[in-house]
Protein backbone atom coordinates (compact mmCIF):
# COMPACT_ATOMS: atom_id res chain seq x y z
CA UNK A 1 0.00 0.00 0.00
CA UNK A 2 2.80 2.38 0.86
CA UNK A 3 4.33 2.06 -2.62
CA UNK A 4 1.16 3.02 -4.45
CA UNK A 5 1.35 6.81 -4.26
CA UNK A 6 4.80 6.80 -5.90
CA UNK A 7 3.36 4.98 -8.87
CA UNK A 8 -0.13 6.45 -8.97
CA UNK A 9 0.53 9.84 -7.42
CA UNK A 10 -2.73 11.26 -8.67
CA UNK A 11 -4.83 8.47 -7.15
CA UNK A 12 -3.87 8.79 -3.54
CA UNK A 13 -3.44 12.48 -2.94
CA UNK A 14 -3.95 14.29 0.32
CA UNK A 15 -6.48 17.10 0.13
CA UNK A 16 -5.61 19.94 2.47
CA UNK A 17 -9.21 21.09 2.99
CA UNK A 18 -10.41 17.60 3.82
CA UNK A 19 -7.47 17.02 6.14
CA UNK A 20 -8.03 20.32 7.95
CA UNK A 21 -11.65 19.43 8.60
CA UNK A 22 -10.81 15.91 9.74
CA UNK A 23 -8.19 17.20 12.19
CA UNK A 24 -10.82 19.47 13.71
CA UNK A 25 -13.47 16.75 13.62
CA UNK A 26 -11.17 14.36 15.50
CA UNK A 27 -10.74 16.91 18.28
CA UNK A 28 -14.51 17.47 18.35
CA UNK A 29 -15.19 13.77 18.79
CA UNK A 30 -12.57 13.41 21.50
CA UNK A 31 -14.36 16.17 23.43
CA UNK A 32 -17.48 14.00 23.46
CA UNK A 33 -15.93 11.62 25.96
CA UNK A 34 -15.35 14.13 28.79
CA UNK A 35 -18.77 15.54 27.83
CA UNK A 36 -20.23 12.09 28.36
CA UNK A 37 -18.38 12.01 31.68
CA UNK A 38 -20.19 15.22 32.70
CA UNK A 39 -23.52 13.88 31.48
CA UNK A 40 -23.13 10.61 33.38
CA UNK A 41 -21.64 12.26 36.49
CA UNK A 42 -24.67 14.51 36.81
CA UNK A 43 -27.01 11.54 36.59
CA UNK A 44 -25.53 9.63 39.54
CA UNK A 45 -25.52 10.33 43.27
CA UNK A 46 -22.95 12.86 44.45
CA UNK A 47 -20.87 10.21 46.24
CA UNK A 48 -20.18 8.52 42.89
CA UNK A 49 -19.54 11.63 40.78
CA UNK A 50 -15.81 11.21 40.29
CA UNK A 51 -15.86 7.46 39.73
CA UNK A 52 -18.50 7.87 37.06
CA UNK A 53 -16.54 10.64 35.36
CA UNK A 54 -13.32 8.65 35.66
CA UNK A 55 -14.81 5.72 33.77
CA UNK A 56 -15.06 8.00 30.72
CA UNK A 57 -11.56 9.37 31.27
CA UNK A 58 -10.32 5.80 31.66
CA UNK A 59 -11.88 4.92 28.32
CA UNK A 60 -9.65 7.55 26.69
CA UNK A 61 -6.62 5.98 28.33
CA UNK A 62 -7.44 2.34 27.75
CA UNK A 63 -9.25 2.38 24.41
CA UNK A 64 -6.83 4.98 23.01
CA UNK A 65 -4.02 2.56 23.77
CA UNK A 66 -5.69 -0.66 22.62
CA UNK A 67 -6.89 1.03 19.44
CA UNK A 68 -3.36 1.97 18.40
CA UNK A 69 -2.03 -1.40 19.49
CA UNK A 70 -4.44 -3.76 17.79
CA UNK A 71 -8.00 -2.40 17.51
CA UNK A 72 -7.37 -0.25 14.44
CA UNK A 73 -5.75 -3.13 12.61
CA UNK A 74 -8.58 -5.54 13.44
CA UNK A 75 -11.12 -3.00 12.26
CA UNK A 76 -9.50 -1.46 9.21
CA UNK A 77 -6.81 -3.74 7.81
CA UNK A 78 -8.10 -5.80 4.94
CA UNK A 79 -11.56 -6.95 3.94
CA UNK A 80 -12.10 -10.18 5.84
CA UNK A 81 -15.74 -10.99 6.50
CA UNK A 82 -15.60 -10.97 10.29
CA UNK A 83 -12.33 -9.30 11.27
CA UNK A 84 -9.59 -7.33 9.58
CA UNK A 85 -5.93 -8.23 9.62
CA UNK A 86 -2.86 -7.66 11.72
CA UNK A 87 -0.73 -5.64 9.31
CA UNK A 88 -1.47 -2.37 11.12
CA UNK A 89 -0.74 -3.71 14.61
CA UNK A 90 1.07 -1.06 16.66
CA UNK A 91 0.37 1.38 13.80
CA UNK A 92 2.66 -0.40 11.38
CA UNK A 93 2.20 1.17 7.92
CA UNK A 94 -0.09 3.90 9.26
CA UNK A 95 1.55 6.94 7.73
CA UNK A 96 0.97 10.22 5.90
CA UNK A 97 -0.13 8.23 2.88
CA UNK A 98 -3.89 8.56 2.39
CA UNK A 99 -6.04 5.65 3.36
CA UNK A 100 -7.63 3.99 0.30
CA UNK A 101 -10.82 5.74 -0.70
CA UNK A 102 -10.05 8.90 1.26
CA UNK A 103 -8.03 12.03 0.71
CA UNK A 104 -6.71 12.28 4.27
CA UNK A 105 -3.53 10.77 5.73
CA UNK A 106 -4.02 7.33 7.25
CA UNK A 107 -2.74 8.79 10.52
CA UNK A 108 -5.64 11.23 10.70
CA UNK A 109 -8.07 8.49 9.71
CA UNK A 110 -6.72 6.28 12.51
CA UNK A 111 -6.95 9.08 15.08
CA UNK A 112 -10.51 9.95 14.01
CA UNK A 113 -11.59 6.31 14.33
CA UNK A 114 -9.77 6.05 17.67
CA UNK A 115 -12.04 8.70 19.14
CA UNK A 116 -15.04 6.58 18.09
CA UNK A 117 -13.66 3.54 19.88
CA UNK A 118 -13.02 5.68 22.97
CA UNK A 119 -16.48 7.24 23.21
CA UNK A 120 -18.18 3.89 22.59
CA UNK A 121 -16.20 2.21 25.36
CA UNK A 122 -17.10 5.08 27.67
CA UNK A 123 -20.78 4.75 26.75
CA UNK A 124 -20.98 1.20 28.08
CA UNK A 125 -19.89 2.40 31.54
CA UNK A 126 -23.33 3.98 31.95
CA UNK A 127 -24.78 0.53 32.61
CA UNK A 128 -22.52 -0.30 35.54
CA UNK A 129 -21.88 2.99 37.38
CA UNK A 130 -22.16 3.21 41.16
CA UNK A 131 -21.05 -0.39 41.81
CA UNK A 132 -18.40 -1.68 39.39
CA UNK A 133 -14.80 -1.86 40.62
CA UNK A 134 -12.60 0.62 38.80
CA UNK A 135 -9.84 -1.91 38.17
CA UNK A 136 -12.32 -4.44 36.77
CA UNK A 137 -13.67 -1.73 34.48
CA UNK A 138 -10.17 -1.01 33.16
CA UNK A 139 -9.73 -4.67 32.22
CA UNK A 140 -13.22 -4.80 30.72
CA UNK A 141 -12.63 -1.62 28.69
CA UNK A 142 -9.37 -2.94 27.26
CA UNK A 143 -10.86 -6.23 26.10
CA UNK A 144 -14.23 -4.82 25.04
CA UNK A 145 -12.69 -2.11 22.86
CA UNK A 146 -10.93 -4.83 20.84
CA UNK A 147 -13.22 -7.86 20.96
CA UNK A 148 -16.52 -6.04 20.54
CA UNK A 149 -15.97 -2.53 19.19
CA UNK A 150 -13.15 -3.20 16.72
CA UNK A 151 -14.94 -6.25 15.35
CA UNK A 152 -18.21 -4.41 14.83
CA UNK A 153 -16.39 -1.41 13.36
CA UNK A 154 -14.87 -3.81 10.84
CA UNK A 155 -18.29 -5.15 9.91
CA UNK A 156 -19.79 -1.72 9.30
CA UNK A 157 -16.84 0.47 8.25
CA UNK A 158 -13.73 -1.56 7.59
CA UNK A 159 -14.75 -3.88 4.77
CA UNK A 160 -16.53 -6.57 6.76
CA UNK A 161 -19.63 -8.50 5.81
CA UNK A 162 -22.20 -5.78 6.55
CA UNK A 163 -20.37 -3.22 4.42
CA UNK A 164 -19.92 -5.80 1.67
CA UNK A 165 -23.59 -6.73 1.52
CA UNK A 166 -24.53 -3.05 1.25
CA UNK A 167 -25.73 -2.10 4.72
CA UNK A 168 -25.62 1.68 5.04
CA UNK A 169 -24.25 3.02 8.32
CA UNK A 170 -22.92 6.54 8.01
CA UNK A 171 -21.30 7.21 11.38
CA UNK A 172 -21.78 4.16 13.55
CA UNK A 173 -25.32 2.96 14.16
CA UNK A 174 -23.91 -0.56 14.24
CA UNK A 175 -20.61 -0.42 16.18
CA UNK A 176 -21.18 2.70 18.25
CA UNK A 177 -24.87 2.92 19.05
CA UNK A 178 -26.19 -0.64 18.93
CA UNK A 179 -22.75 -1.87 19.97
CA UNK A 180 -22.78 0.18 23.19
CA UNK A 181 -26.52 -0.11 23.87
CA UNK A 182 -26.87 -3.87 23.77
CA UNK A 183 -23.50 -4.39 25.44
CA UNK A 184 -24.78 -2.15 28.21
CA UNK A 185 -27.76 -4.43 28.72
CA UNK A 186 -25.48 -7.46 28.99
CA UNK A 187 -23.14 -5.62 31.37
CA UNK A 188 -26.03 -4.61 33.61
CA UNK A 189 -27.23 -8.21 33.78
CA UNK A 190 -23.80 -9.66 34.59
CA UNK A 191 -22.67 -7.01 37.07
CA UNK A 192 -26.09 -6.91 38.69
CA UNK A 193 -28.23 -4.16 40.15
CA UNK A 194 -27.07 -1.62 42.70
CA UNK A 195 -27.92 -2.76 46.21
CA UNK A 196 -30.38 0.10 46.72
CA UNK A 197 -31.99 -0.31 43.30
CA UNK A 198 -35.74 -0.67 43.52
CA UNK A 199 -35.70 0.08 47.27
CA UNK A 200 -34.69 3.69 47.38
CA UNK A 201 -35.04 6.65 45.09
CA UNK A 202 -31.68 6.94 43.33
CA UNK A 203 -31.81 10.39 41.83
CA UNK A 204 -29.53 12.46 39.59
CA UNK A 205 -27.51 14.77 41.82
CA UNK A 206 -26.86 17.62 39.38
CA UNK A 207 -29.11 18.31 36.40
CA UNK A 208 -26.93 21.23 35.29
CA UNK A 209 -24.00 18.86 34.68
CA UNK A 210 -26.35 16.65 32.71
CA UNK A 211 -27.49 19.49 30.44
CA UNK A 212 -23.96 20.84 30.00
CA UNK A 213 -22.71 17.36 29.14
CA UNK A 214 -25.52 16.82 26.64
CA UNK A 215 -24.82 20.20 25.03
CA UNK A 216 -21.13 19.44 24.66
CA UNK A 217 -21.94 15.99 23.29
CA UNK A 218 -24.13 17.59 20.62
CA UNK A 219 -21.31 20.01 19.78
CA UNK A 220 -18.87 17.13 19.42
CA UNK A 221 -21.38 15.15 17.40
CA UNK A 222 -20.97 17.61 14.51
CA UNK A 223 -17.46 16.22 14.19
CA UNK A 224 -18.69 12.68 14.71
CA UNK A 225 -21.31 12.75 11.95
CA UNK A 226 -19.91 15.59 9.86
CA UNK A 227 -16.50 13.92 9.82
CA UNK A 228 -17.79 10.51 8.83
CA UNK A 229 -17.69 11.47 5.17
CA UNK A 230 -13.90 11.87 5.65
CA UNK A 231 -14.04 15.01 3.53
CA UNK A 232 -15.77 18.33 3.14
CA UNK A 233 -17.86 16.81 0.34
CA UNK A 234 -21.61 16.45 0.14
CA UNK A 235 -22.17 13.46 2.46
CA UNK A 236 -20.33 15.14 5.32
CA UNK A 237 -22.12 18.44 4.75
CA UNK A 238 -25.49 16.68 4.68
CA UNK A 239 -24.72 14.74 7.86
CA UNK A 240 -23.48 17.90 9.58
CA UNK A 241 -26.71 19.76 8.88
CA UNK A 242 -28.87 16.77 9.75
CA UNK A 243 -27.06 16.65 13.12
CA UNK A 244 -28.53 20.07 13.80
CA UNK A 245 -32.05 19.36 12.56
CA UNK A 246 -32.76 15.87 13.84
CA UNK A 247 -32.01 16.38 17.57
CA UNK A 248 -33.95 19.68 17.53
CA UNK A 249 -37.03 17.75 16.42
CA UNK A 250 -36.34 15.02 19.00
CA UNK A 251 -36.33 17.72 21.67
CA UNK A 252 -39.75 18.92 20.51
CA UNK A 253 -41.13 15.40 20.52
CA UNK A 254 -39.66 14.74 23.97
CA UNK A 255 -41.18 17.97 25.33
CA UNK A 256 -44.57 16.74 24.11
CA UNK A 257 -44.13 13.24 25.53
CA UNK A 258 -42.96 14.64 28.88
CA UNK A 259 -45.87 17.06 29.00
CA UNK A 260 -48.39 14.34 28.23
CA UNK A 261 -46.95 11.87 30.72
CA UNK A 262 -45.97 14.09 33.65
CA UNK A 263 -47.48 17.49 32.84
CA UNK A 264 -44.00 19.02 32.97
CA UNK A 265 -41.28 19.44 30.39
CA UNK A 266 -38.20 18.19 32.24
CA UNK A 267 -34.58 19.29 31.92
CA UNK A 268 -33.11 15.81 32.25
CA UNK A 269 -35.64 14.67 29.67
CA UNK A 270 -34.37 17.39 27.34
CA UNK A 271 -30.76 16.31 27.86
CA UNK A 272 -31.77 12.74 27.07
CA UNK A 273 -33.64 13.88 23.96
CA UNK A 274 -30.50 15.58 22.62
CA UNK A 275 -28.62 12.29 22.93
CA UNK A 276 -31.43 10.26 21.39
CA UNK A 277 -31.74 12.65 18.45
CA UNK A 278 -28.00 12.66 17.81
CA UNK A 279 -27.92 8.86 18.01
CA UNK A 280 -30.84 8.50 15.62
CA UNK A 281 -29.19 10.61 12.94
CA UNK A 282 -25.77 8.97 13.44
CA UNK A 283 -26.32 6.06 11.01
CA UNK A 284 -28.64 8.03 8.72
CA UNK A 285 -26.90 11.42 8.61
CA UNK A 286 -25.32 11.22 5.16
CA UNK A 287 -28.09 9.16 3.55
CA UNK A 288 -31.40 10.94 4.13
CA UNK A 289 -32.65 14.38 3.12
CA UNK A 290 -32.87 17.16 5.73
CA UNK A 291 -36.65 16.80 5.64
CA UNK A 292 -36.52 13.11 6.44
CA UNK A 293 -33.87 13.80 9.09
CA UNK A 294 -36.40 16.03 10.84
CA UNK A 295 -39.05 13.33 10.54
CA UNK A 296 -36.55 10.87 12.03
CA UNK A 297 -36.02 13.30 14.88
CA UNK A 298 -39.67 13.09 15.87
CA UNK A 299 -39.93 9.35 15.24
CA UNK A 300 -36.80 8.26 17.11
CA UNK A 301 -38.08 9.79 20.34
CA UNK A 302 -41.00 7.35 20.63
CA UNK A 303 -39.33 3.92 21.10
CA UNK A 304 -36.52 5.35 23.24
CA UNK A 305 -38.97 7.24 25.45
CA UNK A 306 -41.02 4.09 25.90
CA UNK A 307 -37.99 2.02 26.90
CA UNK A 308 -36.81 4.71 29.33
CA UNK A 309 -40.19 4.70 31.05
CA UNK A 310 -40.45 0.91 31.03
CA UNK A 311 -36.92 -0.11 32.04
CA UNK A 312 -36.93 1.21 35.66
CA UNK A 313 -40.02 -0.92 36.34
CA UNK A 314 -37.95 -4.03 35.69
CA UNK A 315 -35.27 -5.61 37.85
CA UNK A 316 -32.66 -4.67 35.25
CA UNK A 317 -30.53 -1.85 36.63
CA UNK A 318 -29.16 -0.65 33.30
CA UNK A 319 -28.46 2.46 35.26
CA UNK A 320 -28.11 5.34 32.81
CA UNK A 321 -30.31 3.85 30.06
CA UNK A 322 -27.63 3.31 27.45
CA UNK A 323 -29.90 0.70 25.85
CA UNK A 324 -32.76 3.15 25.39
CA UNK A 325 -30.72 6.18 24.35
CA UNK A 326 -28.17 4.39 22.16
CA UNK A 327 -29.23 0.83 21.39
CA UNK A 328 -32.86 1.51 20.60
CA UNK A 329 -32.27 4.88 18.91
CA UNK A 330 -29.43 3.40 16.83
CA UNK A 331 -31.72 0.53 15.84
CA UNK A 332 -34.39 3.02 14.77
CA UNK A 333 -31.89 5.05 12.76
CA UNK A 334 -30.47 2.01 10.96
CA UNK A 335 -33.94 0.83 9.92
CA UNK A 336 -35.02 4.36 8.96
CA UNK A 337 -32.32 4.37 6.26
CA UNK A 338 -33.93 1.30 4.73
CA UNK A 339 -37.14 3.24 4.16
CA UNK A 340 -36.08 6.81 3.45
CA UNK A 341 -32.57 6.80 1.97
CA UNK A 342 -32.56 8.86 -1.23
CA UNK A 343 -29.98 8.42 -3.96
CA UNK A 344 -30.59 11.95 -5.17
CA UNK A 345 -29.23 13.13 -1.80
CA UNK A 346 -26.63 10.48 -0.97
CA UNK A 347 -25.47 9.30 -4.39
CA UNK A 348 -25.35 5.72 -3.10
CA UNK A 349 -28.72 4.07 -2.71
CA UNK A 350 -32.48 4.50 -2.38
CA UNK A 351 -34.64 3.08 0.39
CA UNK A 352 -37.96 1.27 0.21
CA UNK A 353 -40.02 4.46 -0.17
CA UNK A 354 -37.92 5.42 -3.21
CA UNK A 355 -38.25 2.02 -4.84
CA UNK A 356 -35.40 -0.06 -3.45
CA UNK A 357 -36.85 -2.60 -1.04
CA UNK A 358 -33.57 -4.54 -0.94
CA UNK A 359 -31.97 -1.74 1.07
CA UNK A 360 -34.44 -2.32 3.89
CA UNK A 361 -33.37 -5.96 3.94
CA UNK A 362 -29.71 -5.01 4.26
CA UNK A 363 -30.57 -2.63 7.08
CA UNK A 364 -32.69 -5.25 8.86
CA UNK A 365 -29.81 -7.74 8.80
CA UNK A 366 -27.59 -5.20 10.56
CA UNK A 367 -30.36 -4.35 13.02
CA UNK A 368 -30.52 -8.02 14.03
CA UNK A 369 -26.85 -8.99 13.88
CA UNK A 370 -25.41 -6.02 15.77
CA UNK A 371 -27.55 -6.39 18.92
CA UNK A 372 -27.01 -10.14 19.04
CA UNK A 373 -23.22 -9.93 18.70
CA UNK A 374 -22.87 -7.01 21.13
CA UNK A 375 -25.03 -8.67 23.76
CA UNK A 376 -23.58 -12.17 23.53
CA UNK A 377 -19.93 -11.11 23.24
CA UNK A 378 -20.17 -8.67 26.15
CA UNK A 379 -22.05 -11.19 28.29
CA UNK A 380 -19.39 -13.85 27.80
CA UNK A 381 -16.53 -11.36 28.20
CA UNK A 382 -17.82 -10.09 31.54
CA UNK A 383 -18.53 -13.61 32.78
CA UNK A 384 -14.91 -14.51 32.04
CA UNK A 385 -13.53 -11.37 33.71
CA UNK A 386 -15.89 -11.98 36.62
CA UNK A 387 -14.45 -15.46 37.08
CA UNK A 388 -10.96 -13.99 37.40
CA UNK A 389 -11.66 -10.95 39.60
CA UNK A 390 -14.59 -9.40 41.48
CA UNK A 391 -16.58 -7.09 39.20
CA UNK A 392 -18.26 -5.23 42.04
CA UNK A 393 -17.14 -3.26 45.05
CA UNK A 394 -18.25 -4.57 48.44
CA UNK A 395 -21.64 -3.55 49.83
CA UNK A 396 -19.93 -1.34 52.36
CA UNK A 397 -17.90 0.42 49.67
CA UNK A 398 -21.01 0.85 47.60
CA UNK A 399 -22.75 2.46 50.56
CA UNK A 400 -19.85 4.83 51.23
CA UNK A 401 -19.61 5.75 47.58
CA UNK A 402 -17.05 4.89 44.94
CA UNK A 403 -15.36 8.30 44.94
CA UNK A 404 -13.88 7.76 48.38
CA UNK A 405 -13.39 4.00 48.13
CA UNK A 406 -12.03 3.76 44.58
CA UNK A 407 -10.20 7.05 44.19
CA UNK A 408 -9.64 8.46 47.69
CA UNK A 409 -11.20 11.76 46.67
CA UNK A 410 -14.51 13.56 46.94
CA UNK A 411 -16.16 15.54 44.16
CA UNK A 412 -17.40 18.18 46.56
CA UNK A 413 -14.72 18.21 49.25
CA UNK A 414 -15.08 21.01 51.76
CA UNK A 415 -11.83 20.51 53.63
CA UNK A 416 -13.74 20.70 56.92
CA UNK A 417 -12.15 18.31 59.38
CA UNK A 418 -9.30 17.56 56.99
CA UNK A 419 -5.87 17.57 58.60
CA UNK A 420 -2.94 18.34 56.33
CA UNK A 421 -0.29 15.64 56.14
CA UNK A 422 3.09 16.96 55.07
CA UNK A 423 3.97 15.38 51.77
CA UNK A 424 7.43 14.09 52.64
CA UNK A 425 8.96 13.02 55.90
CA UNK A 426 11.44 15.61 57.09
CA UNK A 427 9.69 18.49 55.38
CA UNK A 428 8.33 19.71 58.69
CA UNK A 429 11.75 19.63 60.32
CA UNK A 430 13.32 21.68 57.56
CA UNK A 431 10.64 24.29 58.06
CA UNK A 432 11.34 24.32 61.76
CA UNK A 433 15.04 24.79 61.18
CA UNK A 434 14.41 27.67 58.83
CA UNK A 435 12.60 29.60 61.53
CA UNK A 436 14.72 31.80 63.82
Amino acid sequence: MSDLPLVFGQVAKVDTGDTAWMLAATALVLLMTPALGLFYAGLVRSKNTLNTFMMSIAAIAVAGFTWALVGYSLAFDGTGDLIGGFNNVALHDVTFVPRDGTTIPALVFMAFQATFCIITTALVSGAVVERMRFSAFLVFAALWSVLVYAVMAHWAFGGGWLLERGTLDFAGGVPVEMGSGFSALAAALVVGARKDYGRQALLPHNAVLVLLGAGLLWFGWFGFNGGSGFSTGNPGVLAFTNTLLCPACTLLAWFALDAIRGRHVTAIGAATAIIVGCVGITPAGGFVSPGWAMALGFLVALPSYYVIVWRPRTRVDETLDVLAAHGVAGFTGILFIGFFAQESWNGVSDGLVYGNAAQLGDQAVAALAAPVYAFVATYILLRVIGALMPLRVTEREEALGLDVTQHGEEAYATGEGAILITPEAGFEEEMAVAQP
Binding site: G408, A418, I419, L420, I421
Partner: protein
Amino acid sequence: MKLVIGIVRPERANDVLEALYRAEVRGFSLSRVQGHGGELDRVENYRGTTVRVGLEDKVRFEIAVSDGFVQPAIDALCEGGRTGEVGDGKIFVVPLERAVRIRTGETDHGAVTPVGPA
Protein backbone atom coordinates in the same frame (compact mmCIF):
# COMPACT_ATOMS: atom_id res chain seq x y z
CA MET B 1 -41.81 12.63 77.06
CA LYS B 2 -38.31 12.31 75.64
CA LEU B 3 -36.19 13.70 72.85
CA VAL B 4 -34.47 10.85 71.07
CA ILE B 5 -31.40 11.99 69.14
CA GLY B 6 -29.97 9.46 66.74
CA ILE B 7 -26.78 10.06 64.75
CA VAL B 8 -26.43 7.58 61.91
CA ARG B 9 -24.57 6.99 58.66
CA PRO B 10 -26.03 8.97 55.72
CA GLU B 11 -26.24 5.80 53.64
CA ARG B 12 -28.40 4.22 56.36
CA ALA B 13 -30.75 7.19 56.70
CA ASN B 14 -33.30 5.69 54.33
CA ASP B 15 -33.32 2.41 56.25
CA VAL B 16 -33.91 4.34 59.48
CA LEU B 17 -36.77 6.24 57.84
CA GLU B 18 -38.33 2.94 56.80
CA ALA B 19 -37.94 1.48 60.28
CA LEU B 20 -39.42 4.58 61.90
CA TYR B 21 -42.34 4.43 59.51
CA ARG B 22 -42.99 0.79 60.41
CA ALA B 23 -42.78 1.68 64.11
CA GLU B 24 -45.43 4.35 63.46
CA VAL B 25 -43.13 7.12 64.64
CA ARG B 26 -44.23 9.81 62.22
CA GLY B 27 -42.75 13.06 63.52
CA PHE B 28 -39.05 13.87 63.40
CA SER B 29 -36.44 16.29 62.08
CA LEU B 30 -33.37 15.33 60.16
CA SER B 31 -30.16 17.26 59.58
CA ARG B 32 -26.82 16.60 58.00
CA VAL B 33 -23.96 16.89 60.45
CA GLN B 34 -20.29 16.04 60.59
CA GLY B 35 -18.69 14.22 63.43
CA HIS B 36 -16.09 11.87 64.69
CA GLY B 37 -16.74 8.77 66.71
CA GLY B 38 -13.61 6.67 66.83
CA GLU B 39 -13.61 5.31 63.31
CA LEU B 40 -10.35 5.20 61.37
CA ASP B 41 -9.41 8.37 59.56
CA ARG B 42 -9.60 8.39 55.80
CA VAL B 43 -6.67 9.61 53.72
CA GLU B 44 -7.39 11.58 50.54
CA ASN B 45 -4.99 12.91 47.91
CA TYR B 46 -5.47 16.00 45.77
CA ARG B 47 -2.45 16.48 43.54
CA GLY B 48 0.38 17.11 46.00
CA THR B 49 -1.89 17.66 48.97
CA THR B 50 -2.54 14.73 51.25
CA VAL B 51 -5.12 15.11 53.98
CA ARG B 52 -6.47 12.99 56.76
CA VAL B 53 -10.22 13.42 56.94
CA GLY B 54 -11.22 13.17 60.58
CA LEU B 55 -14.84 14.23 60.24
CA GLU B 56 -17.38 11.89 58.69
CA ASP B 57 -20.73 12.92 57.27
CA LYS B 58 -23.60 11.78 59.47
CA VAL B 59 -27.32 12.30 59.60
CA ARG B 60 -28.90 13.42 62.87
CA PHE B 61 -32.48 12.45 63.66
CA GLU B 62 -34.33 14.36 66.35
CA ILE B 63 -37.47 12.58 67.46
CA ALA B 64 -39.70 13.98 70.21
CA VAL B 65 -41.92 11.19 71.50
CA SER B 66 -44.26 10.36 74.33
CA ASP B 67 -42.92 7.72 76.73
CA GLY B 68 -44.54 4.78 74.99
CA PHE B 69 -42.72 5.53 71.77
CA VAL B 70 -39.21 5.89 73.22
CA GLN B 71 -38.27 2.22 72.88
CA PRO B 72 -39.82 1.79 69.39
CA ALA B 73 -37.89 4.87 68.23
CA ILE B 74 -34.63 3.52 69.65
CA ASP B 75 -35.26 0.10 68.12
CA ALA B 76 -35.95 1.67 64.74
CA LEU B 77 -32.73 3.69 64.85
CA CYS B 78 -30.71 0.61 65.80
CA GLU B 79 -32.36 -1.64 63.27
CA GLY B 80 -32.08 0.84 60.40
CA GLY B 81 -28.69 2.27 61.28
CA ARG B 82 -26.63 -0.80 62.16
CA THR B 83 -23.97 -2.15 59.79
CA GLY B 84 -21.75 -3.66 62.49
CA GLU B 85 -18.73 -1.54 61.55
CA VAL B 86 -17.22 1.21 63.68
CA GLY B 87 -18.98 4.46 62.84
CA ASP B 88 -22.61 3.35 62.97
CA GLY B 89 -23.40 6.25 65.30
CA LYS B 90 -25.05 6.89 68.67
CA ILE B 91 -28.44 7.42 70.21
CA PHE B 92 -29.01 9.90 73.01
CA VAL B 93 -32.26 10.10 74.96
CA VAL B 94 -32.84 13.30 76.91
CA PRO B 95 -35.82 14.41 78.98
CA LEU B 96 -38.10 16.91 77.32
CA GLU B 97 -39.49 19.71 79.43
CA ARG B 98 -42.17 21.09 77.17
CA ALA B 99 -43.46 20.65 73.64
CA VAL B 100 -45.90 22.89 71.77
CA ARG B 101 -47.63 22.27 68.48
CA ILE B 102 -47.54 25.66 66.81
CA ARG B 103 -50.65 25.20 64.67
CA THR B 104 -53.04 24.41 67.53
CA GLY B 105 -51.21 25.47 70.63
CA GLU B 106 -51.50 21.94 72.03
CA THR B 107 -48.79 21.23 74.54
CA ASP B 108 -46.76 18.31 75.77
CA HIS B 109 -48.30 14.88 75.18
CA GLY B 110 -50.79 16.18 72.63
CA ALA B 111 -48.07 17.98 70.75
CA VAL B 112 -45.87 14.92 70.22
CA THR B 113 -48.71 12.56 69.32
CA PRO B 114 -49.27 12.18 65.59
CA VAL B 115 -52.49 13.62 64.23
CA GLY B 116 -55.05 11.11 63.01
CA PRO B 117 -55.68 7.46 63.72
CA ALA B 118 -52.30 6.82 65.35
